[in-house]
Symmetry: C2
Subunit: 133 residues, 2 copies
């Protein structure tokens, strides 16, 4: 079962990444698996972080940017000395992401329009063909 701890292999199969990737993320301080002897054991927290990492990557964030975002998501783990500052940063990020979504919506609408145009062309091609018969 998932006793809250997963080996590197289990992680790889679950999230479709290579061992190299997980070790690399640890080296970059994005993940913090515990050690049983030499072996890495990944916790629930590591899995949550990995999901966010993979999501971040799909939106073109660099690993360094993702690391900073992860810190925002896990402030609860630490003292909240600079909580206020953290919240400021989070607000900025939120603004960025909402702007991004706007842009994405625009791109989607553009592509949709392009598609409609393309379908119109196809339709007219069919008509021509029919007329030629």
């Amino acid at each position: 079962m998932t006793e809250d701890l997963m080996t590197i292999r289990e992680m790889c199969e679950t999230y479709d990444v290579t061992p190299r990737t997980l070790r690399f993320y640890e080296a970059k301080e994005l993940l913090f698996p515990i050690r049983e002897g030499q072996k890495r054991l990944f916790t629930k927290r590591d899995r949550a972080r990995l999901k966010l990492i993979l999501r971040g990557k799909r939106f073109g964030f660099s690993l360094e940017e993702i690391r900073q975002l992860l810190d925002l998501y896990h402030v609860g783990d630490q003292q909240m000395t600079q909580m206020t500052r953290t919240i400021e940063i989070a607000r900025e990020r939120l603004g960025d992401m909402e702007a991004r979504r706007e842009e994405l919506t625009q791109a989607i609408d553009d592509l949709k329009e392009q598609l409609r145009w393309g379908e119109k062309v196809i339709a007219s091609m069919k008509n021509e063909k029919k007329a030629a018969e």
Copy 2:
């Protein structure tokens, strides 16, 4: 004025990129500036494409993926031999992008919730301080 043709320098200032980048995009067949002697002159079409390139990059698309998307946006420039196939690809892309937006919306909501939690903590900290006075 903008006589529909811009030099490499004007392009750089307008879109905040380096000459190297524009030449690189040309080498990768993302842009097709015309030549006056040796010098490149960028057309309206190049500018439209560049905008899409920069937008694509902000969403983590590779230049190769962007090149394929650009072809979708500019099918009109060419013969439409494989128009039907092109439309299929466009539909897939559209699906991807809509899924992406869904995911982004989820990420935004997560961050918002995190923010509300943070603000609550801040508030309770203020209360504690007041109670201690």
